[in-house]
Protein backbone atom coordinates (compact mmCIF):
# COMPACT_ATOMS: atom_id res chain seq x y z
CA UNK A 1 0.00 0.00 0.00
CA UNK A 2 1.16 3.53 -0.72
CA UNK A 3 2.09 5.69 2.28
CA UNK A 4 -0.19 8.47 1.07
CA UNK A 5 -3.74 7.99 -0.12
CA UNK A 6 -5.75 10.34 -2.34
CA UNK A 7 -6.37 13.79 -0.80
CA UNK A 8 -2.98 13.43 0.85
CA UNK A 9 -4.38 11.20 3.58
CA UNK A 10 -1.81 9.23 5.56
CA UNK A 11 -2.38 5.54 4.83
CA UNK A 12 -1.63 4.60 8.43
CA UNK A 13 -4.87 6.31 9.44
CA UNK A 14 -6.91 3.57 7.81
CA UNK A 15 -8.63 1.59 10.54
CA UNK A 16 -8.14 4.23 13.21
CA UNK A 17 -11.05 5.35 15.35
CA UNK A 18 -11.95 9.02 15.13
CA UNK A 19 -15.10 9.10 17.22
CA UNK A 20 -17.01 7.00 19.72
CA UNK A 21 -20.15 7.43 21.77
CA UNK A 22 -22.61 5.47 23.87
CA UNK A 23 -26.32 6.13 23.76
CA UNK A 24 -28.80 6.44 26.58
CA UNK A 25 -30.90 3.30 27.09
CA UNK A 26 -33.38 2.85 24.27
CA UNK A 27 -37.03 3.02 25.42
CA UNK A 28 -40.08 1.27 24.04
CA UNK A 29 -41.46 4.70 23.21
CA UNK A 30 -38.35 5.48 21.10
CA UNK A 31 -38.94 2.36 19.03
CA UNK A 32 -42.69 2.84 18.72
CA UNK A 33 -42.27 6.46 17.65
CA UNK A 34 -39.66 5.54 15.05
CA UNK A 35 -41.78 2.72 13.62
CA UNK A 36 -44.84 4.96 13.47
CA UNK A 37 -42.87 7.66 11.64
CA UNK A 38 -42.01 5.11 8.95
CA UNK A 39 -45.64 4.10 8.58
CA UNK A 40 -44.86 0.59 9.80
CA UNK A 41 -47.80 -1.61 10.80
CA UNK A 42 -45.98 -4.72 12.05
CA UNK A 43 -47.33 -5.42 15.55
CA UNK A 44 -43.91 -6.44 16.86
CA UNK A 45 -42.77 -2.82 16.65
CA UNK A 46 -45.58 -1.53 18.85
CA UNK A 47 -46.17 -3.93 21.73
CA UNK A 48 -44.99 -3.40 25.30
CA UNK A 49 -41.65 -5.08 24.54
CA UNK A 50 -41.08 -4.03 20.94
CA UNK A 51 -38.21 -4.92 18.69
CA UNK A 52 -36.81 -2.02 16.67
CA UNK A 53 -37.08 -1.90 12.87
CA UNK A 54 -33.66 -2.68 11.37
CA UNK A 55 -32.99 0.90 10.26
CA UNK A 56 -33.51 2.20 13.82
CA UNK A 57 -29.72 1.89 14.17
CA UNK A 58 -29.39 4.92 11.89
CA UNK A 59 -30.39 7.12 14.82
CA UNK A 60 -26.99 6.58 16.42
CA UNK A 61 -24.72 8.81 14.40
CA UNK A 62 -21.91 9.65 16.78
CA UNK A 63 -20.37 13.09 16.89
CA UNK A 64 -18.35 13.29 13.68
CA UNK A 65 -19.10 12.18 10.14
CA UNK A 66 -15.54 11.68 9.01
CA UNK A 67 -11.94 11.62 10.09
CA UNK A 68 -10.63 15.04 11.20
CA UNK A 69 -7.58 14.69 8.96
CA UNK A 70 -9.80 15.09 5.91
CA UNK A 71 -10.14 18.81 5.29
CA UNK A 72 -13.66 20.07 5.71
CA UNK A 73 -13.50 22.03 2.45
CA UNK A 74 -13.07 18.74 0.55
CA UNK A 75 -16.59 17.79 1.59
CA UNK A 76 -17.91 20.93 -0.07
CA UNK A 77 -16.80 19.44 -3.42
CA UNK A 78 -18.70 16.19 -2.98
CA UNK A 79 -21.84 14.43 -1.92
CA UNK A 80 -23.16 11.48 0.05
CA UNK A 81 -22.57 8.40 -2.12
CA UNK A 82 -24.72 6.00 -0.13
CA UNK A 83 -24.20 3.45 2.57
CA UNK A 84 -24.03 -0.28 3.09
CA UNK A 85 -25.54 -1.64 6.29
CA UNK A 86 -24.83 -5.09 7.67
CA UNK A 87 -27.43 -5.79 10.33
CA UNK A 88 -26.68 -7.79 13.48
CA UNK A 89 -28.89 -8.46 16.49
CA UNK A 90 -32.07 -6.36 16.79
CA UNK A 91 -32.31 -3.43 19.17
CA UNK A 92 -34.72 -3.76 22.08
CA UNK A 93 -35.80 -1.49 24.97
CA UNK A 94 -33.07 -1.09 27.55
CA UNK A 95 -30.24 -1.51 25.07
CA UNK A 96 -27.43 1.03 25.11
CA UNK A 97 -25.70 1.34 21.75
CA UNK A 98 -21.99 1.98 21.54
CA UNK A 99 -20.86 3.49 18.25
CA UNK A 100 -17.25 3.49 17.12
CA UNK A 101 -16.37 5.36 13.92
CA UNK A 102 -13.27 4.39 12.00
CA UNK A 103 -11.75 5.58 8.74
CA UNK A 104 -12.28 2.41 6.73
CA UNK A 105 -11.15 3.12 3.18
CA UNK A 106 -10.05 5.89 0.82
CA UNK A 107 -9.87 5.15 -2.88
CA UNK A 108 -9.94 6.92 -6.20
CA UNK A 109 -11.72 6.08 -9.43
CA UNK A 110 -12.51 7.75 -12.71
CA UNK A 111 -15.90 8.01 -14.37
CA UNK A 112 -17.69 9.94 -17.09
CA UNK A 113 -17.50 13.10 -14.99
CA UNK A 114 -13.81 12.83 -14.13
CA UNK A 115 -11.82 11.84 -11.07
CA UNK A 116 -13.56 10.94 -7.82
CA UNK A 117 -12.22 10.12 -4.38
CA UNK A 118 -14.35 7.97 -2.12
CA UNK A 119 -13.96 8.17 1.64
CA UNK A 120 -15.60 5.34 3.56
CA UNK A 121 -16.28 5.85 7.26
CA UNK A 122 -17.32 2.69 9.08
CA UNK A 123 -19.65 2.80 12.08
CA UNK A 124 -19.38 -0.25 14.30
CA UNK A 125 -22.38 -0.54 16.61
CA UNK A 126 -22.59 -2.88 19.56
CA UNK A 127 -25.04 -3.25 22.44
CA UNK A 128 -24.29 -3.45 26.17
CA UNK A 129 -23.61 -7.19 25.81
CA UNK A 130 -20.99 -6.55 23.15
CA UNK A 131 -23.18 -8.03 20.42
CA UNK A 132 -22.89 -6.52 16.94
CA UNK A 133 -25.98 -4.47 16.19
CA UNK A 134 -24.93 -3.06 12.84
CA UNK A 135 -21.93 -2.16 10.73
CA UNK A 136 -22.54 0.82 8.49
CA UNK A 137 -20.18 1.89 5.73
CA UNK A 138 -20.89 5.53 4.93
CA UNK A 139 -19.50 6.42 1.52
CA UNK A 140 -18.79 10.02 0.56
CA UNK A 141 -17.61 11.11 -2.87
CA UNK A 142 -15.21 14.04 -3.07
CA UNK A 143 -13.79 15.82 -6.07
CA UNK A 144 -10.01 16.19 -5.95
CA UNK A 145 -8.91 19.81 -5.77
CA UNK A 146 -8.68 21.35 -9.22
CA UNK A 147 -11.31 19.07 -10.77
CA UNK A 148 -14.57 20.62 -11.82
Amino acid sequence: MNDTLPLGIDATLIGTEFDSSTSKPVTAADIQEYAASLGETYAGYFGPDPVAPPTFCMKFRGNRFSHPSIPAEAFRRGFDAGKDIHFGVPIRPGDTIHTSNVLHEVYEKTGRSGSMVFVVSRQLMTNQRGEMVATIDNRFMLRPEGDK
Binding site: Y107, E108, K109, T110, G111, R112, S113, G114, S115, F118
Partner: protein, 216 residues
Protein backbone atom coordinates in the same frame (compact mmCIF):
# COMPACT_ATOMS: atom_id res chain seq x y z
CA UNK B 1 -19.71 -19.65 -27.97
CA UNK B 2 -21.20 -16.45 -26.61
CA UNK B 3 -19.51 -14.73 -23.67
CA UNK B 4 -20.37 -11.57 -21.79
CA UNK B 5 -16.83 -10.20 -21.56
CA UNK B 6 -17.51 -7.39 -19.09
CA UNK B 7 -19.37 -7.89 -15.81
CA UNK B 8 -18.97 -6.81 -12.20
CA UNK B 9 -19.97 -8.70 -9.09
CA UNK B 10 -20.22 -7.37 -5.56
CA UNK B 11 -16.44 -7.74 -5.39
CA UNK B 12 -16.47 -4.37 -7.15
CA UNK B 13 -17.38 -1.59 -4.77
CA UNK B 14 -20.11 -0.18 -7.00
CA UNK B 15 -21.90 -3.45 -7.75
CA UNK B 16 -24.42 -5.33 -5.66
CA UNK B 17 -24.79 -8.26 -8.00
CA UNK B 18 -23.97 -11.76 -6.83
CA UNK B 19 -22.56 -14.32 -9.23
CA UNK B 20 -25.35 -16.71 -8.28
CA UNK B 21 -27.84 -13.96 -9.10
CA UNK B 22 -26.30 -13.56 -12.56
CA UNK B 23 -26.49 -17.28 -13.23
CA UNK B 24 -30.08 -17.58 -12.03
CA UNK B 25 -31.05 -14.63 -14.23
CA UNK B 26 -29.32 -16.08 -17.29
CA UNK B 27 -31.05 -19.41 -16.72
CA UNK B 28 -34.40 -17.66 -16.42
CA UNK B 29 -33.78 -15.62 -19.57
CA UNK B 30 -32.02 -18.27 -21.65
CA UNK B 31 -34.56 -17.98 -24.47
CA UNK B 32 -33.57 -14.36 -25.13
CA UNK B 33 -30.05 -14.30 -23.67
CA UNK B 34 -28.09 -17.24 -25.14
CA UNK B 35 -25.05 -16.57 -22.95
CA UNK B 36 -22.64 -19.47 -22.49
CA UNK B 37 -20.37 -17.70 -20.05
CA UNK B 38 -19.29 -14.45 -18.47
CA UNK B 39 -16.07 -12.76 -17.46
CA UNK B 40 -15.95 -11.04 -14.08
CA UNK B 41 -13.86 -7.93 -14.65
CA UNK B 42 -13.77 -6.36 -11.20
CA UNK B 43 -12.72 -2.73 -10.92
CA UNK B 44 -9.05 -2.01 -10.18
CA UNK B 45 -8.30 -5.48 -8.86
CA UNK B 46 -8.05 -9.12 -9.75
CA UNK B 47 -10.13 -11.47 -7.66
CA UNK B 48 -7.73 -14.39 -7.36
CA UNK B 49 -9.48 -15.95 -4.37
CA UNK B 50 -13.01 -16.72 -5.53
CA UNK B 51 -13.60 -20.19 -6.92
CA UNK B 52 -16.77 -20.47 -9.01
CA UNK B 53 -16.25 -23.96 -10.39
CA UNK B 54 -19.11 -25.42 -8.36
CA UNK B 55 -21.44 -22.77 -9.80
CA UNK B 56 -20.26 -23.55 -13.33
CA UNK B 57 -21.14 -27.20 -12.74
CA UNK B 58 -24.50 -26.36 -11.19
CA UNK B 59 -25.66 -23.85 -13.82
CA UNK B 60 -23.76 -24.97 -16.91
CA UNK B 61 -22.44 -21.46 -17.52
CA UNK B 62 -18.73 -20.70 -17.75
CA UNK B 63 -17.28 -18.13 -15.35
CA UNK B 64 -13.94 -16.56 -16.17
CA UNK B 65 -12.06 -13.83 -14.36
CA UNK B 66 -10.33 -10.70 -15.63
CA UNK B 67 -10.00 -7.08 -14.52
CA UNK B 68 -11.03 -3.57 -15.46
CA UNK B 69 -8.24 -1.09 -14.81
CA UNK B 70 -7.93 2.66 -15.28
CA UNK B 71 -5.32 4.33 -17.45
CA UNK B 72 -4.34 7.61 -19.02
CA UNK B 73 -6.40 6.52 -22.06
CA UNK B 74 -9.47 5.45 -20.10
CA UNK B 75 -10.64 2.14 -18.75
CA UNK B 76 -9.17 -1.10 -20.07
CA UNK B 77 -10.26 -4.71 -19.68
CA UNK B 78 -7.46 -7.16 -18.98
CA UNK B 79 -7.89 -10.83 -19.83
CA UNK B 80 -5.56 -13.65 -18.89
CA UNK B 81 -4.44 -11.93 -15.70
CA UNK B 82 -1.54 -13.75 -14.04
CA UNK B 83 0.93 -13.22 -11.22
CA UNK B 84 3.48 -11.59 -13.50
CA UNK B 85 0.98 -8.91 -14.52
CA UNK B 86 -0.03 -8.29 -10.94
CA UNK B 87 3.62 -7.86 -10.05
CA UNK B 88 4.24 -5.57 -13.01
CA UNK B 89 1.20 -3.33 -12.47
CA UNK B 90 -0.61 -1.93 -9.45
CA UNK B 91 -4.18 -2.52 -10.63
CA UNK B 92 -5.52 -0.08 -8.02
CA UNK B 93 -3.60 2.80 -9.63
CA UNK B 94 -6.10 4.91 -11.60
CA UNK B 95 -3.33 6.47 -13.67
CA UNK B 96 -1.73 3.44 -15.27
CA UNK B 97 0.18 4.08 -18.48
CA UNK B 98 -2.07 2.61 -21.17
CA UNK B 99 0.70 1.98 -23.69
CA UNK B 100 2.81 0.13 -21.12
CA UNK B 101 -0.23 -1.85 -20.04
CA UNK B 102 -1.17 -2.95 -23.55
CA UNK B 103 2.39 -3.82 -24.52
CA UNK B 104 3.39 -5.55 -21.31
CA UNK B 105 0.14 -7.45 -20.78
CA UNK B 106 0.55 -8.84 -24.30
CA UNK B 107 4.12 -9.90 -23.54
CA UNK B 108 3.07 -11.46 -20.25
CA UNK B 109 0.47 -13.68 -21.90
CA UNK B 110 -2.70 -11.63 -21.73
CA UNK B 111 -4.61 -9.13 -23.76
CA UNK B 112 -5.76 -5.63 -22.86
CA UNK B 113 -8.93 -4.28 -24.48
CA UNK B 114 -10.03 -0.66 -24.05
CA UNK B 115 -13.64 -0.61 -22.88
CA UNK B 116 -16.53 1.81 -23.42
CA UNK B 117 -14.30 3.85 -25.78
CA UNK B 118 -17.13 6.24 -26.61
CA UNK B 119 -17.58 7.39 -23.05
CA UNK B 120 -16.48 10.89 -22.04
CA UNK B 121 -13.34 11.10 -19.89
CA UNK B 122 -12.87 7.35 -19.52
CA UNK B 123 -13.11 6.39 -23.19
CA UNK B 124 -10.49 5.96 -25.89
CA UNK B 125 -12.23 8.16 -28.49
CA UNK B 126 -11.83 11.31 -26.45
CA UNK B 127 -8.17 10.57 -25.69
CA UNK B 128 -7.42 9.93 -29.36
CA UNK B 129 -8.53 13.47 -30.12
CA UNK B 130 -5.61 14.87 -28.14
CA UNK B 131 -3.03 12.10 -27.99
CA UNK B 132 -1.44 9.67 -30.43
CA UNK B 133 -3.18 6.34 -30.96
CA UNK B 134 -2.01 3.43 -28.85
CA UNK B 135 0.12 0.77 -30.48
CA UNK B 136 -0.75 -2.88 -30.22
CA UNK B 137 -4.48 -2.57 -29.61
CA UNK B 138 -6.12 -5.66 -31.07
CA UNK B 139 -9.72 -4.95 -30.11
CA UNK B 140 -11.98 -2.50 -28.32
CA UNK B 141 -15.37 -2.85 -26.72
CA UNK B 142 -17.75 -1.81 -29.48
CA UNK B 143 -20.91 -2.63 -27.54
CA UNK B 144 -21.07 -1.71 -23.87
CA UNK B 145 -24.34 -2.31 -22.05
CA UNK B 146 -23.86 0.72 -19.83
CA UNK B 147 -23.28 3.21 -22.61
CA UNK B 148 -25.57 6.15 -23.13
CA UNK B 149 -27.10 7.12 -26.44
CA UNK B 150 -24.42 7.97 -28.98
CA UNK B 151 -21.50 6.48 -27.03
CA UNK B 152 -21.45 3.09 -28.77
CA UNK B 153 -22.04 4.77 -32.11
CA UNK B 154 -18.81 6.79 -31.73
CA UNK B 155 -16.91 3.52 -31.39
CA UNK B 156 -18.03 2.27 -34.78
CA UNK B 157 -15.96 4.99 -36.43
CA UNK B 158 -12.99 4.13 -34.22
CA UNK B 159 -13.21 0.44 -35.12
CA UNK B 160 -13.38 1.22 -38.83
CA UNK B 161 -10.56 3.74 -38.78
CA UNK B 162 -8.09 1.60 -36.88
CA UNK B 163 -9.44 -1.81 -37.96
CA UNK B 164 -9.82 -2.95 -34.39
CA UNK B 165 -11.59 -6.13 -33.46
CA UNK B 166 -14.92 -5.50 -31.74
CA UNK B 167 -16.12 -7.14 -28.57
CA UNK B 168 -19.31 -6.69 -26.56
CA UNK B 169 -19.97 -6.78 -22.84
CA UNK B 170 -22.81 -5.82 -20.57
CA UNK B 171 -20.72 -3.88 -18.01
CA UNK B 172 -23.37 -5.20 -15.67
CA UNK B 173 -23.42 -4.01 -12.07
CA UNK B 174 -26.95 -5.29 -11.49
CA UNK B 175 -28.29 -8.79 -12.01
CA UNK B 176 -30.86 -7.85 -14.63
CA UNK B 177 -28.21 -6.28 -16.90
CA UNK B 178 -26.06 -9.36 -17.34
CA UNK B 179 -25.71 -10.56 -20.91
CA UNK B 180 -27.38 -7.60 -22.62
CA UNK B 181 -24.26 -7.21 -24.77
CA UNK B 182 -21.82 -10.02 -25.46
CA UNK B 183 -19.24 -11.46 -27.83
CA UNK B 184 -19.69 -14.44 -30.10
CA UNK B 185 -16.63 -16.57 -30.78
CA UNK B 186 -16.40 -19.03 -33.66
CA UNK B 187 -15.30 -21.78 -31.31
CA UNK B 188 -15.51 -22.95 -27.70
CA UNK B 189 -13.40 -21.14 -25.10
CA UNK B 190 -12.20 -23.40 -22.30
CA UNK B 191 -10.51 -21.11 -19.77
CA UNK B 192 -8.91 -17.69 -19.29
CA UNK B 193 -5.77 -18.58 -21.24
CA UNK B 194 -7.88 -19.93 -24.06
CA UNK B 195 -9.92 -16.71 -24.00
CA UNK B 196 -6.72 -14.78 -24.67
CA UNK B 197 -5.95 -17.10 -27.58
CA UNK B 198 -9.45 -16.69 -28.96
CA UNK B 199 -9.20 -12.90 -28.75
CA UNK B 200 -5.83 -12.97 -30.50
CA UNK B 201 -7.15 -15.28 -33.22
CA UNK B 202 -9.96 -12.89 -34.12
CA UNK B 203 -13.15 -13.87 -35.90
CA UNK B 204 -15.39 -12.81 -33.01
CA UNK B 205 -18.21 -10.29 -33.14
CA UNK B 206 -20.11 -8.08 -30.73
CA UNK B 207 -23.77 -8.86 -30.07
CA UNK B 208 -26.54 -6.69 -28.65
CA UNK B 209 -29.49 -8.43 -27.00
CA UNK B 210 -31.23 -5.38 -25.57
CA UNK B 211 -34.02 -5.41 -28.16
CA UNK B 212 -34.84 -9.01 -27.29
CA UNK B 213 -35.44 -8.07 -23.66
CA UNK B 214 -37.95 -5.37 -24.54
CA UNK B 215 -40.44 -7.98 -25.72
CA UNK B 216 -43.14 -7.56 -28.35
Amino acid sequence: MILDLHAHSKKSEDSRATVVGYLQWLLKKKDVLPIDGLVLTEHRQFDADSDYRHLEDEYGIRIFKGSEVETDYGHVLVYGVNDAMLERFDFSNVRLNAQELITDVEELGGIAVPCHPGRPTVGLCEHYRNKPPLEGVRAVELLNGGSRKGENERVEELVKKYRYGAIGGSDSHLVSFIGICATEFPREVSDEEDLVRALREGGFRALDFRDRLKGP
